[in-house]
Amino acid sequence: MAMKIGEGKFKENVNKNIEDTFMRGAVASAQERLRTRRLDAAEELGNWEEWRSHGEEIRQHVLNNLDYYLHELAENLQKRGGHVFFAETADEANRYISEVVKANGGKKILKAKSMVTEEIGLNGVLEEEGCEVIETDLGEYILQLDEHDPPSHLVAPALHKNKEQIRDVFTQKLDYKMTSKPEELALYAREKLRQEFLSADIGITGCNFAIAESGSVGLVTNEGNAGLVSDLPKTQVVVMGMERIVPTFEEFEVLVGLLTRSAVGQKLTSYITTLSGPREEGDADGPEEFHLVIVDNGRSKILGTEFQSVLQCIRCAACINVCPVYRHIGGHSYNSIYPGPIGAVLTPLLGGYDDFKDLPYASTLCAACTDACPVKIPLHELLHKHRQVIVEREGRAPVSEKLAMKAFGLGAASNPMYAAGSKMAAAMMKPFTKNDRISNGPGPLKAWTEIREFPAPNRERFRDWFKQHEKGGGEQ
């Protein structure tokens, strides 16, 4: 399963990542920065709640009418000369893309960051076919150079690496001779990647939102790499999750605004590009051949169920940036390309409970994620639902509970996370107290204790711990 990014078990990953002090510091400060920026951006817009509600109603409308809009999208893209392939499985998608690559004699493939291509494991498939696949998003490029180190954050994938580590990777792999200054590193990468752009045969991108009325796909980046990937190679392949679609440009605009504000706290990112099929007659750049691959890969099974709202997700990572558990265990612990609260909900649905049943327990159900979500997905409720399903419907023993509790620092006083408690308290309490959840009595606590077999002493400790850190809420 390509969603998996490690062999370790959740607990081992947690412990390993907790020992990595840099990673933890980096995660915490990035979380803080992205979170603050998001709050600023939301405030600036004014009536943020209204925007969220609008985002939510658009996403719900689209999911409920998905067949109509996908049909319209394909119809309009075909009119513009594009090819559309509907893939029910990862395999089908990969096979089609391999064929397109082969038919075009493609050897060098440039990619702009795309979660769905990670999800279906496309790079591996293409590499097996003898292609060179180059990620062009700076963060992904760094990870790829470093022997396919998996990403740890949706928006900032190389978050767990410091600049010296990045310099070392560049020195080893690219014959880099300068300092670890971010500007120098980035400029060097720019030059290296430019050469690749100019000689690539095929460009592959994801799709933030497709636009049904015009048969377009929309790409959102800060680096401008998606623009280059779709501009220079002769053939372009766009891979989209089937739910990433809007009716018209008007809804596109609303969701892009919610995405950029929630993901990076910007009003808009530097580059937003809409592509409607191949270049036109008389154009000298842009792809001559354009393929859109629409991927199901387990998504339709979520439609019409109590988990449908998870498909509203626009992959902004706001929920990750407020998650106290993510802060302490880091992205790699989730063992999935989708980390944090959204990952804990989505991964078991796409990848099955066999591999990922621990994930719904990697949460305090504190609801910070739900409050942050720009399209109002009730994430903590969905996590809770997972737990019910695992125990009641699947009849599985909730063995992972204790593990997950422990990982969160509730299990044993010797747990490093527990020891680090006071430092993380301020940041952790913010989302809780802000929404008045603590004074509401056992809001989050109740959710925890509803779980069968939750040991009483731990419950006591959790309460003490909460109290103790509530006092220290101002420090950090």
Partner: protein
């Protein structure tokens, strides 16, 4: 070509608990429309103020001028950015705004290389844009709130001109300024609904290319331009 659409959509509809609908346009009746009251009460001068403030946040130089001074101002800006080679769109607005002398005489006389995007030259255009120190285009729609120029590419308006050169200058007629992306989206959607063929590539560009992928430090110019300037022109 469309492959496997029917079976795919049948399955989607089945999951939704109904038969497939591919012909009846779903009714969109939104309860919320915050975009209708965001910056919509500003006049053109007030929008320019919004744009000016925003440019400070996105590392973008904003220069204001009149159409009679434009040629001078553009020449000075180009010199400031280190001169040629320059890549520009083939676009009648260069003539309309009185830039022909600058482009065809002044610059060449000073050995500043200027390359106009000519579709018939094919990939050579890309090589020129790649070598260029500065790319210059007009803005088709300008978004005050986010500091964004919207470019409709196609024909003589190559996509690469705003993307490949080291520096980028957008010429912004003041009349192109609208409150925010909402108005651009409405205009594009109107054209689609009217049956027009929209540009196969529309770029919404907000300042220079940047990345925060190294320890969350903002670095400009990762793939696209390192520097960006907007020259706002009081229309004639």
């Amino acid at each position: 070509m469309i492959h496997y659409r029917d079976s795919f959509l049948n399955n989607v509809a089945r999951q939704l608990g109904r038969s497939p609908n591919t012909s009846v346009k779903p009714e969109r009746s939104w309860q919320f429309r915050p975009q209708d009251k965001t910056l919509t009460d500003r006049n053109q001068d007030e929008l320019l103020t919004v744009l000016r403030d925003q440019c400070r946040l996105i590392h973008t130089e904003l220069i204001e001028t009149t159409s009679s001074k434009l040629s001078e101002v553009l020449e000075a800006t180009v010199t400031l950015y280190g001169g040629g080679p320059i890549s520009i769109w083939q676009d009648e607005r260069f003539t309309e705004f009185g830039l022909d002398t600058l482009v065809n005489e002044t610059w060449p006389a000073r050995y500043v290389e200027v390359n106009e995007w000519r579709a018939e030259r094919g990939r050579e255009n890309i090589a020129q844009a790649e070598r260029a120190n500065i790319g210059i285009t007009f803005s088709d729609i300008t978004l005050a709130e986010s500091g964004t120029v919207v470019l409709f590419a196609g024909g003589g308006k190559g996509r690469s001109v705003s993307l490949l050169p080291r520096n980028y200058i957008a010429l912004v007629p003041k009349s192109t300024i609208v409150p925010r992306m909402t108005q651009a989206a409405q205009e594009i959607s109107r054209r689609v609904q009217a049956g027009e063929t929209i540009s196969s590539c529309i770029n919404f560009i907000t300042g220079p290319s940047n990345s925060a992928d190294i320890e969350m430090n903002l670095v400009v110019g990762v793939h696209g331009p390192v520097k960006a300037a907007y020259i706002v022109i009081e229309d004639r």
